[in-house]
């Protein structure tokens, strides 16, 4: 500035009045220089900022000063503002001009100004359609010049200048200068819109990140913290309450973010995460500081950041302390419930024994009434055996491991025959044809005969109940055994009511019963016995046609040393 004519400077307003015409010409040149200088500084200042408001405000102030205008306004359509909802900024009396501040533009304005992109006197504006009154409104408000801001064939704003304070008209030279200024500044305004959009996107992404319940930490390749979400900040603050603001962690080394005195051993494990891994799950990590102890599920991995030409280390922490506590509570509850189930199962088995005793007593009474002492004695002997079994069972009531079996090599066929002898005279099986197809070649294998008897009794009772439920005239139960390589197979089929699919899925779970007087523990005991014998069970059932249970016992020793089973072993 000093080199542009400091020597010609005048010292007071009186002297200025006496300037000659020559000086006035130079002044005009300097005015143009001043304008371009101001504009270039403005462009430089806002070339990489998303602050379009600052840019517009300074532009309006610059134009006001440059063209000696007290009143000026800007209507702009940045991202988020439509033609009908422009951003408005004004100086002087335009600030409180209701007509200007509530002005809504339309596609008609857009169409007109993309064809008339130059600064124009408002009296020359000839919009059509819904924009037809635009020139009139601007004139009424005291606007003299309107300058459309058109970028990429789109109206992005309009600037308006009021009267010059010296009441002179805008000269053609000034309009030409304005054209140069506006055309220069438009790309910067469009650029600031773009920055604003990117900035909004950044805020949007950060909002998304902050809505995640897991703590998310992003470190650059030098392991300096680049970003942390709200949940992450709160995790750190759990152990360091003096942390005031999330920004205070910016570019902090990872060792300070997860200090070893709190996050013991973390740094070493996080540093072991390979460069190509994404979302590698590290084991749950415990953090303890004073009285506070939390458990986190930790994931760590790297991603390539194109923006920074760098790789980022992403760490997510999921606080699973409450989940772990809930799991422990659930585990305790399950143990408690298991005890309840066990008690109910035992009660159920006792009922089975009592049913057998009652049946035996009835048979003995019948035999005695017919003076058949031989039959009565035989029945009483069997009753004695049953009572002995019951005694053995009750002796182990206090010990759940009783169900963990006492196996010895026994013939499954013999157990079946025994059970069939017990049930054959019972009322429940009256009218039911029991067919036995027992394979005599099946080998003896280690089993608990008492438990197997309980198991078979349950299946026979259930089969009889299923047959009675469907009121079938000729009920039939078929019992089969077979040798199948290294398995002994037992199956029991009935032509009873059948089992629906949804019931089938829950069959061996406690409290499931389809019987009016049932309690749903019989098959739970069966499941336990099957488990004790490493047996597998298949259920084939069709509603209305009947059910087949097939049980395969894994035999622990081969039939003989040269058998195929031996080779398989």
């Amino acid at each position: 500035m000093r080199g542009q004519g400091v020597d010609d400077m005048v010292e007071s307003t009186d002297l200025l009045k006496d300037r000659d015409a020559k000086f006035a010409d130079r002044s005009a040149m300097n005015k143009q220089f001043l304008a371009l200088d101001a504009l270039s500084k403005l462009a430089k200042q806002y070339s990489n900022k998303p602050d379009f408001k600052g840019l517009i405000e300074t532009l309006i102030l610059t134009l006001s000063g440059q063209f000696s205008v007290a009143n000026a306004f800007a209507l702009l359509f940045p991202p988020g503002h439509s033609f009908s909802d422009p951003y408005f900024y004004a100086t002087g009396r335009f600030k409180k001009n209701h007509l200007l501040s509530t002005l809504e533009l339309s596609e008609d304005h857009n169409r007109y100004f993309i064809k008339n992109t130059f600064p124009q006197r408002v009296t020359d504006i000839s919009c059509t359609g819904s924009a037809a009154n635009f020139g009139f409104i601007l004139t009424e408000c005291g606007t003299k010049l309107a300058m459309p801001l058109v970028h990429d064939s789109r109206l992005i704003g309009i600037l308006g200048l009021g009267d010059k304070v010296n009441r002179k008209e805008y000269s053609d030279d000034e309009v030409e200068l304005l054209t140069i200024l506006i055309n220069t500044i438009i790309p910067f305004i469009a650029n600031s819109f773009l920055f604003m959009e990117i900035s909004n996107l950044n805020i949007w992404y950060l909002d998304i990140l902050n809505s995640v319940k897991q703590g998310v930490f992003v470190f650059n390749s030098h392991h300096l913290l680049r970003k942390v979400n709200l949940a992450g900040f709160n995790i750190l603050r759990t152990f360091r309450p003096n942390l005031q603001h999330v920004d205070s962690l910016n570019k902090i080394p990872i060792e300070l973010v997860f200090p070893d005195n709190v996050f013991q051993g973390w740094i070493q494990r996080l540093n072991e995460v390979g460069s190509s891994e994404h979302g590698r799950l590290l084991k749950n990590m415990k953090v303890k500081s004073g009285d506070i102890e939390r458990i986190y599920n930790v994931r760590a991995g790297t991603i390539i950041s194109r923006a920074y030409r760098d790789s980022d280390l992403i760490i997510t922490l999921d606080d699973i302390t409450n989940q772990k506590e809930s799991e422990q509570r659930l585990f305790d509850l399950e143990k408690f419930a298991e005890k309840g189930v066990m008690a109910s199962s035992i009660s159920h088995e006792l009922n089975n024994f009592l049913a057998l005793i009652l049946g035996g007593v009835e048979m003995a009474q019948l035999a005695l009434s017919k003076s058949n002492t031989e039959k009565a004695t035989s029945t009483l002997e069997k009753l004695k055996t049953t009572v002995n079994k019951m005694e053995r069972f009750t002796a182990g009531l206090m010990d759940y491991t009783r169900l963990n079996t006492q196996k010895q090599s026994t013939s499954l066929n013999a157990v079946i025959t025994d059970v069939l002898a017990f049930i054959s005279g019972q009322k429940k099986f009256k009218g039911i044809n029991i067919v036995t197809e027992l394979d005599s070649s099946i080998i003896d294998f280690a089993l608990d005969s008492d438990q197997l008897a309980q198991l078979l009794l349950n299946f026979f009772n259930n089969a009889a109940d299923a047959i009675h439920e469907v009121n079938r005239e000729t009920g039939q139960i078929v019992v089969r055994t077979a040798q199948e390589k290294y398995r002994v197979v037992f199956s029991i089929s009935d032509n009873g009511v059948g089992i629906p699919d949804d019931v089938k899925e829950r069959l061996f779970k406690a409290h499931l019963t389809t019987k009016p007087k049932g309690h749903g523990y019989g098959l739970v005991t069966c499941a336990k016995i099957l488990q004790n014998h490493q047996a597998e069970i298949d259920i084939d059932s069709e509603v209305g046609r009947g059910t087949t249970f097939t049980i395969r016992f894994l035999i622990e020793r081969p039939p003989d040393q040269n058998s195929e089973y031996c080779n398989l072993q």
């Binding site: 000093r2 001043l34 440059q66």
Partner: protein, 118 residues
């Protein structure tokens, strides 16, 4: 970015003095604009802008003054510039504002104009 410090001092019930320092350009013109707007909103009719500490003023700086002059004059008030340096006077002359703006060479003259001094 240039820095400017703006100090203000209430002289009478109607008059306030604003004293911007440093360089008033694009980066900080809005600060003067806001200071003037605050004074205006507080009911001061006369705003004396003492430019003795001001080294440079850009067209944006000038624009920040112009917006309020007309409004104050409507209520028989004004903005009075004083102690403007040669540089600043040159800018005002180039912008053809030396006649429009009320300019006094010293603060005493400005205060006399506002009735602060007899």
């Amino acid at each position: 970015m240039n820095t400017t410090t703006i100090m203000s001092e209430q002289l009478t019930e109607d008059t306030i003095m604003i004293d911007p320092g440093g360089q008033l350009d694009n980066s900080n013109a809005h600060i003067l604009s806001e200071a003037i707007a605050r004074a205006q909103a507080s009911g001061f009719k006369y705003i004396i802008i003492d430019m003795k500490r001001l080294e440079f003023i850009s067209s944006a700086g000038v624009g920040s003054i112009l917006g309020s002059v007309e409004l104050l004059r409507e209520v028989n008030g004004d903005i009075i510039l004083c102690n403007a340096s040669e540089n600043i006077m040159y800018v005002l002359s180039v912008l053809d504002l030396t006649e429009y703006l009320t300019i006094r060479s010293s603060r005493i003259e400005a205060e006399e104009l506002c009735g602060v001094r007899e």
